[in-house]
């Protein structure tokens, strides 16, 4: 398992990295997907720019009433962040469900999100959180919503030369209940399906609901039909079930050795109901 020859640069600054990327280099973060692909020679970049040495990309902080997570924050750093645990528990719960401890030590949120594996865990949570992604190029900076970022399997709104530098998520106070529920693919640790739910209840009615779905189709999405159905209703088991039943509606479901399209759709519904139920139970 030997990769093809490649150049490797570990820049100290983001500007230096963006300059290299503008000339066609490929960014390397945790390497959890890129390195195996290179070893199998399915990917053969000529030049890798290692983002992990750039201090400016590694942070988790609160600013302006939002939470900012640098691209190279590892899954473990997110999982164990006291700030996130208190103010965005959905993200810590999701990070803890990724792969295994070795993967969580190496893998980064930026790498995972930019790679856009259709079975990755974060995208479900980030859709439910209506996260924003800061994309930087050598001469540009823009912010893209989760809804616009995930385009297709392994395809995002990132333009050549751009990197994802930062993920921005809202602060969820104690009145918001969240949950990530996942069916694990036993070999890879990826999600066969992963369902993220955020809910609020006001005066006995569901006042706010966001549902993110990963694993089911070519990219993570928000199940807006299910959300609309649930909003304004009571959180009865029947209403949960009725909303969950819609999460896979109209979706061209993935099918592979580990789960057929029908089974995936069914699992999405089951895990949506579980995520909603658990999220509701967590409202303080």
């Amino acid at each position: 398992m030997i990769a093809q020859k490649f150049e490797y640069t570990a820049p100290k600054s983001l500007d230096e990295a963006l300059h290299l990327l503008a000339s066609g280099a490929k960014p390397l973060a945790g390497g959890m997907s890129l390195i195996p692909m290179m070893k199998l020679r399915l990917a053969s970049p000529e030049h890798l720019v290692d983002l992990r040495t750039i201090q400016d990309l590694n942070f988790i902080r609160e600013a302006g009433g939002q939470l900012h997570i640098g691209a190279t924050a590892s899954h473990y750093e997110i999982e164990s962040s006291a700030l996130l645990r208190q103010k965005c528990p959905l993200l810590t719960e999701t990070a803890a469900a990724i792969g295994d401890v070795q993967v969580r030590n190496m893998g980064t949120i930026g790498g995972s999100v930019a790679h856009a594996d259709p079975a990755a865990d974060y995208p479900a949570a980030l859709q439910a959180l209506e996260a924003k992604f800061v994309l930087k190029g050598a001469k540009s900076e823009r912010t893209v919503s989760a809804a616009d970022f995930f385009v297709d399997a392994f395809a995002t709104a990132l333009e050549p030369g751009e990197i994802l530098s930062e993920v921005i998520v809202p602060i969820d106070d104690a009145r918001t209940g969240t949950s990530y529920q996942k069916m694990v693919q036993p070999a890879s640790g990826f999600a066969i399906v992963g369902l993220a739910a955020r809910v609020r209840v006001n005066a006995g009615k569901v006042s706010f609901v966001r549902i993110g779905v990963t694993g089911l189709s070519n990219h993570a999405y928000r199940a807006s039909g299910a959300e609309k159905t649930f909003e304004g209703k009571t959180s009865s088991p029947a209403n949960i079930q009725a909303a969950a039943a819609l999460v896979a509606q109209g979706v061209d479901a993935n099918s592979d050795l580990h789960a057929s399209a029908d089974f995936r759709r069914h699992l999405a519904v089951v895990h949506a109901a579980r995520a909603l139920k658990t999220a509701l139970s967590r409202i303080a």
């Binding site: 030997i2 195996p36 020679r41 069916m183 070999a187 050795l257 089974f263 069914h266």
Partner: protein, 785 residues
Amino acid sequence: MATTTTKVETFVGKRIRRREDPRLITGTATYVEDIQMPGMHYAVILRSPHAAARIRSIDTKKAESAPGVVCVLLGKETKGVGAVPCGVAMPDLRVPQHTILATDRVYFVGHPVAVVVARDGYLARDAADLIEVDYEVLPAVADPEKALAKGAPAVHPQWPDNIAFTYHQDGGNVDKAFAEADVVVKQRIVSQRLVPMAMETRGVVAEWRNADRQLNLYTSTQIPHLVRTIVAGMLGLEENRTRVIAPEVGGGFGSKLNVYAEEALMGYVSMKIQKPVKWIESRRENFTCTIHGRGHVDFYEIAAKRDGTILGIKLKLIQDVGAYHQLLTPLIPQLSVLMMPGIYNTQNIRADIVGVFTNCVPTDAYRGAGRPEATHGIERMVDMLAAELKMDPAEIRFKNFVAKDKFPYATATGLTYDSGDYAAPLKKALDLVGYAKLRQEQADLRKQGKYMGIGISTYGEICAIGPSPATPAGGWESATVKIEPSGKVTILTGACPHGQGEETTFAQIAADELGVALDDIVVLRGDTAVVQYGIGTFGSRATAVGGTALYYALQDLKAKIKKFGAMLLESEDVTLAGGQVVDNKTGKSKPFQEIAGATYRALKLPPNTEPGLMATRFWEPPNFTFPFGAHIVVTDIDGETGQIRIRRYVAVDDCGNILNPLIVDGQIHGGVAQGLGQALWEQAVYDDNGQLVTGELTDYALPRAHLMPWIESHHTCTPSPVNPLGVKGVGEAGTIGCSPAVVNSVVDALSPLGVRHIDMPLTPEKIWKLLATKNRDVGSRGATK
């Protein structure tokens, strides 16, 4: 000079930590990959991407002129090297010529086509991409049942029926048994292909020393002496100038009980380039080129009386051979036939094996080698019979066990079970798990629409392989014990243990026999220039056969020590105990170490006695040993997702006397892990084109530590009369006992839906489909007469 310490403390039977572990845990052990030599070159093998193709041409020019490349070798240049051998002789065995590199045709994905040698491994790998092979892709067949169908592509054109061998065995009168039966239950049972997946892939370093006409071959193998004999033969070298070294071996599980093309190929390369050469198998190659295990489609029929008495068993066994026979390929399903009656008292069996060529990597021995398949078959059939007769699965087993006063017991398949008390572990396991209470709980849960299952497997297996006439290459084992002048002890075992803990257990045996400390004993293995000829470690044999050779070598030395002790004490009546030779009359004693020194100093010798303390024994076992046990698995099934949760795993294993309970626990745990792997997750899936779909660890679901249940490991002890240690073997028991217990448990859970059989692996989707459709007709129905 350091003196040895003598202790009265005994070691056999104690939970002693493995002496080999510090180097393994601290990462200081030396594996093949760790070996470096001056001038060493590196080989990369180009392999076929097609399951079946004719090679029209190969252009190596670009690769040969790539940086650092020394040579590129093709099959036409290695034609003089002997074929990769099949070690099994059978009357109608078809053995295709298995050259070390493909010549005009490839037969499976991963078939070696060319070898590139360069001054470093990176350059060799890059150059391999520059070789241009023009393939004419041919139709392939990857499924053994499809390969048997009329009009299937012929794997080997000379044998259009794809039949590699057939084997028939009859015992008793099976026709009469079936004619007299009240009930006959039939089922097709698949034991899927598995990838053995040693953590260390294979690897070879070959070092040809021209001046000495000597080949040193470092290879990750379970059988260094057999590799030496065979590779020397393949390369036309002298056996005494071929040295095979198995350094640390990072797992084998049968996959390294073999002789592979690469072992001879690297020898050839080193001779050609006159430099040492290293080849390390990639994980991808390990998936596609190292043998697979299992690969059965079995058609069982079991005949019984209405009271549950089993009268006879029929088995039609389709063995997926793959494209070639490796060392023991055709033998493995025969082991299944030998064990097909399990531990039940039935004297009427009929078995027909058909071995089938497919365009896949060959199958061969994988932990349990034929016995997990047989146990899975009989244990599933007994459960189905119990269901058909509405009997409790424990009760039907008690009814049919070979009674404990019937040993030695001659089976219908020609074996003689050495000793057994089959009811004992089942009774113990039922008590431990709280069987009656669990059945009550199950009934309550069923009323709530919940699925909980209790699965029993009572297995027997065949170990301590084995008497030489019953094995392809000699079934004895050897041991040399050297006691140095200082009294320090060196054991050379021919068994080549490689992770099974004999560096500890053999030292325990010797320490107790000689009365010395464990630290005074070194166990050496794995180097044909150091250790006398030996067979190797497989078939749970190293301790039962190799340990017995050690035991007898120790008896020889004890007799000699006593002779010298008696001479020094001027006594005729002495005892060797606690590291002392004691005059039984006067109580005077001489320490063991002083006597050891005297045997080498040789100032005075007892009559007809030579100086020195060294003994070698080759022990031929008179029989196999037959461990047994009962595993009970309690499962809860998620009715929405089909996920199976193992609530309890109770294993009661009887492996005879236990030398080190800690090591036995470890063997059971590891064995159960691999059994669970087959039952729940693992499957080597080839598509119709012969591509291995589960060819990466992201798709091949290997059992992980965090997926393991707590294993409640217990024992009964029925010593074996076959060897003086009373041991039976435990390396494969966990795997053999496990899978039917899991499947029986899940089928039990789903039995209210009419489910009677599910093939492995028990994926959530399979379970969900059964739950969703409440399928009442899974597989073929049992026919009640």
